[in-house]
């Protein structure tokens, strides 16, 4: 006969972190860890993903919420980026050949800003030097000379005709539109009447002379437009010369400065050519270059990497289409939406080009078309700035088609595992573009080295959030709490977000108590307060049990009824509560009815667990015969669904109690799943479950008989709170490990379970014997009923 399982000692219920093992007084003495402990796999994946030069090897960092993926990724990339060279700076300039297609300039990282400054200085020079030249004495003199040359040429031509006319006694008279000629005598035009009195030969001679002079005059005057054109050309040449005087020196100097960048010098040459072509567009007043022309010479530096020491690491928290690939802004002018290259704005892909871009996967998937845009950019290895309206021709104001920016980037998506696997399953592009998965651990092994690393992480958190430093005991308590969060005394929760929240609250408590450092009591208070704020529903449930609204007896004995244990999860808060499980048994045809399943309140795993225990019943108590049993199990007063197999031990015990009519101690609760061989297996939430039953018992008064049966396999997971540990230490509450169903039976009934002998018979007085006897009785009853029915049927 085996002994019933012994209760655990209090020191087995908790894995303490010994402060004396921590080699510091306060966390202020600790350097932040180079990398977060326990994330080697994810870090190696990041290392691989960032080293391999292939467009498809982008990284998806996956893990549970709050595991600090972003902080780790960011930290890693910032470290990694320091080893890289700063990438190119990028900017757009006007395309003088096709203004709708702005040209892209790729510049060394610090050169972008220099070119921007150079261009600004150049324009300032234009603004002052051009008017100065055109207002100079020399320019005015030369213009005057040109005009005078033309006038003189004109004047001389006419004077020459006038002189010839005078020699032939012909008057050259100015008219409103030109000239006319007439016979002249005494300096006046001869009176026509007198002319007609002259001899005909003389009249003809005069007339011939006038006709000849007219022809000569016509020929001379017809030269004037040509002379005018020549004068205009000379003036144009003069203006160009003057303009070149004003701008040429600066442009040449700039071209010499930028000879190492042919694209820049080509643009400067284009500016030179363009400004000369605008010589006639100078403002009349002041000879200034109109702003709309000068604007074309600006340099729109969209990405300035002058300040970078390494590659850029960019996080885009709102990865919309426009914020990823940039946008082209418009301004409203005279009822029209206008734009030019100066209104091209960079997106996150531009800014991160040559480096790393971090995006939360969920965010990018939530933004309309942003995911497609991102994939297109990675596939095409270029960023083409175009609006959604332009892309889908919904509404197309005047817009631009700027040169695309070549893309050389590593993208790190951050998301949970579900998202990763959904994308892998349903988006064929995903696995081509995000080939590296950096899978973040939810927990890490708890051993002294990791505890010290964890302490460093806490120090870094305190430093990052401007919190007080933690003393050694506070660090130890927080490490213990991290184990509890992991639900495992041999693990530590890897997530930093809940820790950061805890430390912030502890810091607040420390501040209230005028403490310079965060102590263990501050941490304890913070834990309690966090729990207190979240426990409203738990309080209501406990209250219902204490007022017997929910029937959970914690004393006495009962046949076919047992206290199981369940865990509820509300947001980040989980808590355990007892659940009443009852069973009935009567002769029948080997059927165990799962009432939850029948009522469609049971999940598949629960249904499977009931099936397993049915098979256990059959194999254990009727290995060679039929199981003539009609039984049922149910969760009483449970109005929601039941899922999981952690109640299968309790269900089995309730059923065996009902079959054997052996009462069960109600002061005990049990949790654990069972396999077909009757072995008890580990379950989840063991700490919450124990504490949940303890809370009820404590409120009703601990009498030393109360306790919880847990799977032996769960012993390493125990991180129970101080109250439970104290009660256990004082012998007022007990935690019993069980490895087999028989262990549970013995502890629950106070009777030996009994092992079958070689013939399959259980010893007298054992629970199993009672079960087997009752089942045999059921069998005989069933057979009797069967014979009677056969007789009645003839």
């Amino acid at each position: 006969m085996t002994k019933p399982p012994a209760p655990l000692d209090a020191d087995m219920l908790y894995q303490r972190c010994d402060p004396s093992r921590l080699p510091f007084e306060t966390s202020a003495e600790l350097e932040p860890p180079a990398f977060p402990p326990g994330q080697t796999r994810a870090l190696e994946a990041l290392e691989f993903g960032t080293e391999i030069e292939d467009g498809g090897f982008n990284v998806f960092a996956l893990g549970s919420f709050g595991t600090g993926k972003y902080a780790v990724v960011r930290h890693f990339l910032e470290q990694r980026a320091q080893r890289d060279e700063p990438p190119w700076s990028w900017g757009y300039v006007h395309n003088f050949d096709d203004p709708e297609k702005p040209r892209l300039l790729r510049l060394p990282p610090k050169a972008g800003r220099k070119l921007e400054t150079d261009m600004e200085n150049l324009f300032e020079e234009f603004r002052t030097a051009i008017p100065a030249v055109f207002e100079s004495d020399e320019y005015h003199n030369r213009v005057e000379e040109l005009r005078e040359d033309f006038k003189q040429r004109q004047r001389e031509a006419i004077e020459s005709i006038g002189k010839k006319a005078k020699e032939k006694d012909v008057a050259l008279v100015n008219t409103r539109n030109g000239f006319t000629l007439g016979p002249m005598r005494d300096g006046e035009v001869l009176d026509p009447e007198e002319f007609h009195k002259l001899p005909e030969e003389e009249q003809e001679a005069w007339q011939a002379a006038i006709n000849e002079l007219e022809e000569e005059l016509k020929q001379s005057l017809q030269q004037i437009p040509k002379w005018q054109k020549e004068a205009r050309e000379k003036l144009q040449a003069l203006n160009e010369e003057m303009l070149w005087v004003a701008v040429g020196q600066q442009l040449e100097a700039l071209e010499n400065d930028w000879t190492h960048l042919p694209d820049v010098t080509a643009h400067l040459r284009a500016i030179r050519k363009d400004i000369i072509s605008h010589v006639n567009d100078l403002d009349d007043e002041g000879s200034t270059v109109p702003e709309e022309i000068l604007n074309q010479y600006e340099f729109n530096l969209i990405v300035d990497n002058a300040e970078l020491e390494g590659a850029p690491v960019v996080y885009e928290d709102l990865p919309t289409h426009a914020r990823l690939i940039g946008r082209i802004e418009h301004h409203f002018r005279e009822g029209a939406l206008l734009t030019d290259f100066r209104l091209i704005r960079a997106g996150a892909l531009h800014r991160a080009n040559g480096g790393y871009l971090i995006i939360h996967a969920r965010q990018v998937l939530m933004q309309p078309l942003a995911w497609e845009t991102l994939k297109r950019a990675i596939y095409g290895k270029q960023v083409r700035t175009e609006s959604l309206e332009q892309l889908y021709t919904v509404f197309t104001p005047i817009t631009l088609d700027p040169d695309p920016v070549p893309l050389d980037i590593k993208i790190v998506l951050i998301g949970d595992r579900m998202l990763y696997y959904l994308l892998s399953e349903y988006d064929p592009d995903f696995s081509k573009l995000f080939k590296v998965q950096a899978d973040f651990e939810d927990t890490l092994e708890r051993h002294p080295e990791h505890e010290l690393d964890y302490a460093r992480t806490l120090a870094a958190l305190a430093q990052r959030h401007n919190l007080r430093s933690l003393d050694r005991e506070a660090v130890a308590r927080t490490i213990e709490h991290a184990s509890r969060m992991a639900g495992d005394s041999e693990k530590l929760a890897a997530g930093t977000r809940p820790l950061a929240d805890l430390l912030a609250e502890a810091n607040h408590v420390a501040g209230k108590s005028h403490s310079d450092t965060i102590g263990p009591t501050h941490v304890e208070t913070a834990i309690t307060r966090q729990e207190k704020r979240a426990e409203r529903l738990r309080e209501r449930a406990v209250e219902a049990i204490l007022r017997n609204t929910l029937n959970i007896p914690t004393s006495g004995e009962r046949i076919g009824a047992i206290n199981g244990l369940s865990v509820s999860q509300l947001g980040n808060f989980s808590f355990g509560l007892p659940a009443r499980i009852t069973a009935t048994a009567r002769p029948g045809l080997g059927q165990v009815v799962d009432i939850e399943r029948e009522a469609k309140l049971g999940g598949n795993i629960h249904t499977k667990a009931v099936m397993i225990l049915s098979r256990y019943l059959g194999s254990h108590y009727a290995p060679d015969g039929e199981l003539s049993l009609s039984a049922s199990v149910a969760f009483e007063q449970l109005y929601g669904t039941v899922e999981g197999d952690s109640a299968s031990v309790a269900e089995l015990c309730a059923l065996l109690s009902a079959i054997a009519r052996v009462p069960i101690h109600q002061s005990l609760a049990v949790t654990g799943s069972i396999n077909q061989l009757g072995e008890v297996q580990a379950i989840g939430g063991v700490n919450d479950k124990i504490e949940g039953f303890f809370r009820i018992c404590r409120e009703r008064g601990l009498d030393g008989k109360q306790g919880v049966l847990i799977p032996e396999a769960n012993l390493p997971h125990l991180m129970l709170n101080h109250e439970v540990r104290s009660a256990v230490a004082a012998g007022r509450f007990h935690v019993y490990p069980i490895a087999r169903a028989d262990d549970a039976l013995e502890r629950l009934t106070g009777k030996p379970a009994g092992e079958a002998d070689s013939d399959g018979y259980f010893p007298e007085g054992s629970v199993n014997r009672a079960v087997a006897d009752r089942l045999r009785h059921f069998q005989s009853v069933t057979r009797r009923h069967a014979f009677r029915r056969e007789d009645e049927n003839g």
Partner: protein, 280 residues
């Protein structure tokens, strides 16, 4: 120029004569003079138009255009109407005694005669009429009047009246010949007062400084700003430099000023684009 006299303005509806009218009217108002607008139908043109074989040659294209008496008559009528309208418009700007006198004959002879008949002491006309656009800087009428008339002449260039120049541009008086100094300064003062501009005396180094001081002192009663600038050299180039350094709204010279500079009056007059008042 004394007050209450007569000012003759020679009009031919050319751009220069339009500007001349504005200035003449301003002076007439300022001095309460009568403005006689003189429009002369050039008899040389009238006679030419009667020749059947004579044509008009376009200065713009060099093409021969029909030119006969009817064409000329129509053209002269339009010019008269245009001039009358200009006068009406000018008169509407303020009190002005004026009349339009239409005459026919040779231009400079008729102008001289009209000036004599009206007792005018100032004739205002363009530096060049219609020939201005054909390279002429000083037309034949202005040249003839410079030689023949005893009146002061104001020779206008361009369409803009001086009021459209920079407001701070002064009326400039070129003081070279001591015999003309008083008349030049007096005429320049009248112009400055009429246009509410400062007065600048461009003074030859041959002028006695004490004479210059007394001249400036004489101007004190007038509420105008007076400045003086000594010419760097007594030559046409010296004057050109001064005029370029400080452009003026109008230039006032005397009949003998050009002689003092060793050049013709026409050279001096065409040195500047500003109107030039030649004081007799």
């Amino acid at each position: 120029m004394d007050d209450h006299g007569t000012i003759v303005v020679l009009l031919d509806s050319s751009p220069a004569s339009t500007g001349a009218l504005t200035t003449a009217a301003r002076l007439a108002r300022r001095q309460d003079s009568e403005l006689v607008a003189l429009f002369i139908e050039d008899n040389n043109l009238s006679r030419s138009a009667e020749y059947a074989f004579v044509r008009e040659i376009s200065a713009l294209s060099g093409n021969a255009l029909p030119f006969d008496a009817q064409t000329l008559t129509n053209r002269l009528r339009h010019q008269r109407e245009h001039i009358a309208a200009l006068l009406e418009e000018e008169a509407s700007r303020g009190a002005l005694r004026w009349r339009l006198q239409v005459a026919s004959g040779g231009i400079h002879q008729t102008t001289s005669r009209a000036a004599t008949e009206t007792g005018a002491e100032l004739i205002v006309l363009g530096k060049s009429g219609w020939s201005a656009g054909r390279g002429a800087r000083l037309g034949s009428t202005a040249r003839q009047l410079l030689l023949e008339t005893g009146c002061s002449l104001m020779l206008w260039e361009g369409r803009q009246p001086p009021g459209n120049n920079q407001a701070e541009d002064p009326v400039q008086a070129l003081v070279m010949d001591p015999t003309e100094t008083s008349a030049i300064v007096r005429a320049a003062t009248a112009l400055a007062l009429a246009s509410e501009r400062p007065l600048q005396l461009l003074v030859s180094r041959t002028i006695d400084p004490s004479r210059l001081r007394s001249l400036v002192a004489e101007l004190e009663p007038f509420s105008i700003t007076v400045s003086t600038q000594m010419l760097i050299e007594q030559s046409l180039r010296g004057v050109a430099h001064a005029l370029h350094t400080q452009p003026g709204s109008e230039l006032v010279i005397g009949r003998h000023t050009a002689e003092s500079l060793g050049c013709d009056s026409s050279d001096l007059i065409t040195l500047t684009n500003a109107p030039v008042l030649v004081v007799s």
